[in-house]
Amino acid sequence: MRGCFRAIAATAIMVATSTLLYSQDLEYRLSVVDEGTLNALNKETPINYDNSILPQPYRGNIGTSNLFVSAGMFSMLLNLSTNTDNLRSPTYSYSLRELAFDYSLSGAVDITIGKKILKWGTGYAFNPTGVVEPQRSPSDPSDRLGQNEGSKLASIDYFSGRSSLTFVYVNDSKIESWAWHWGTQEFAMRAYTFLSGLDLSLIGHYREEDRLELGTNWSYVVGNNLELHGEFLGKQGSSTLYHQIIATDDDQQVLSSYPYTAMHDRSSEIFYKLLLGSQYTFENGINVAVEFYRNTEGLTTAQWKRWMKFVKFQSDIQRGLVPVDPATMGPSRYNLLWALQTLSPRGAMQDYCFGREYWALDRWGIELIQFVNAQDFSAVVIPTVSYKVSDNLSTYGRLSWFTGGSESEFGAIFYTTTFNLGIQVQL
């Protein structure tokens, strides 16, 4: 079934490619990255004690290429990847990250149909108002390996002077067994204007069987050096799934069934995501960006502690530190695996801070990222040094250092440090 979909996708690619190649305004970009990774495993973490629950590789390599081709009304972004590490055989994959048809109905009205990445937020590391865009990872905001994929959508844009109005319809449809299957529908709207130096957007978003979300984002420049930006997105109630242990006092139990529920589904409470940020450029070119992010759908400190105690209890069972009936070992292991779903690359708790310092010095680029949990003060610190050999060839070394107590969010991650060494060819 999946094969059929791939065959149709491949045909679509071939048709688009031939159209593109014969077009006179052909534009293309090709990026090929090979990145080796060494991981220092965090064998003390209760989430994955002794690397035994969800074994992680200590070394790996990813080779990935992204080809963007556009001509006339068509554009396409194709990813081919190969992945290998010390635990698994090499895997090969491809994905059509984008395949879109853009058409200008008039000088002011454009339509887009296809699969496309749309980005609406003004934030650097977080994107609460990016309601139809892939979720960003604050530890890799620029998606260095090009893994984000577009949404299947139809959109219409109206441009007038320094304002615009966009309506988007998203449907995660699939072709299976030669039949078209409609997916979940989403509707989004953005009204943008530029007013007295202020970039201002109003956002609305509705996902089928979910809630209406309303929000705004803005940015403003003060003088020659300082930029300020912010985003807000709010809704009534939440369909986010929470581990049921965070609502109980008994965190020392082995659950017998899948433990996630939408606890606030019927709540009338307002949940919101708020981002406040700024960037400053010094006279010598050093650029500093800072952001504060609050997501009230995240866990409170008390809820995190309860969840962590539960995880630690399961971990102790696995290590034989808690005497239990041997029949409990299996379910307890499942409890640990289920518990991992609480974690997210964007953070599982409510409050985070982000910092990025960047300095370009001739062919060298020096970047330092800090992603800090503002509730338990654990952090990921990521220094990166890059060197541009030529316009087509560059290399980089990137270290990610996870710091914090063993029961803090980043202190409990599978790794203590990871090191990436990459080489990139661009055409």
Binding site: E27, R29, F68, S70, S75, D102, G107, A108, D110, T112, I117, L118, K119, W120, G121, T122, Y124, E133, P141, S142, D143, R144, G146, D157, F159, G161, R162, S163, S164, T166, Y192, F194, G197, D199, S219, Y220, V221, G223, N224, N225, L226, E227, H229, Q279, T281, F282, E283, G285, N287, D362, R363, K388, D391, N392, S394, Q426, L427
Partner: protein, 251 residues
Amino acid sequence: MKRAHIAVLLVSLAAVLVGQVSAQTPPQKPSADKILQLSDMSRNGWISYGVHTTIENYENGSLKDEGVFDVTIKGMNKTLVKFLNADVKGQYLLMVDDDMWIYMPNTRKPIRITPLQRLMGDASNGDVARTRYAEDYSATFLRDEVLDGTPCDVLDLHAKRDGATYNRIIYWIAKETNRPKRAEIYLTSGKYYKSIDFNTYAEIDGRMLLTKMTITDKLRSGRTTIMKYDSYGPRNLPDKYFNKDYLEKLR
């Protein structure tokens, strides 16, 4: 009667003499702002146009870096810069009045930037994007000076709007052709920041237009930037191309 004739004759004679005197007076020199406006014409051949721009950065005489850009200027206040180097292909800089956005294809979103964030080397965004000095600076006449054998008007330019690239410029403009010859840039502190030599001009579509200029960093010795312009031509993109949200549709 005779006396009346003599009076008419004298008045007529006086009028002729006055007329001759005024005909011999040289035409009034244009104002400094007018000279500045005329000099802009040799950097902007059309109201809306496109130009291919190459920026070369040198350190102690050796080429360190080279950037190639396709620049579209629309009217007095809109500029769209397309980056053409392989490592930044698909990147755009949009400048409307005093406001700037950069669009990077890997992040897929336009980011608001401050004027200090540079394109590359010693060339500021404004060196590429803001070429109509009369829009950004008010001029006063300083002196006449012969520069490299060319008689010039030397003007003192002061920023008249927040988005101007520099605070103060001393500007040499050739008297005969109204073409810029040299500029000295000063920081708000009064420090001599950089000099710009407008090296060569070429005739394109009947217009003499700037084809090469050299920027010399006066704070860090040995650093120079050469900007070369070619493929000038009229280009009138629709207004929507200069809307921040349209950047994601550009390729």
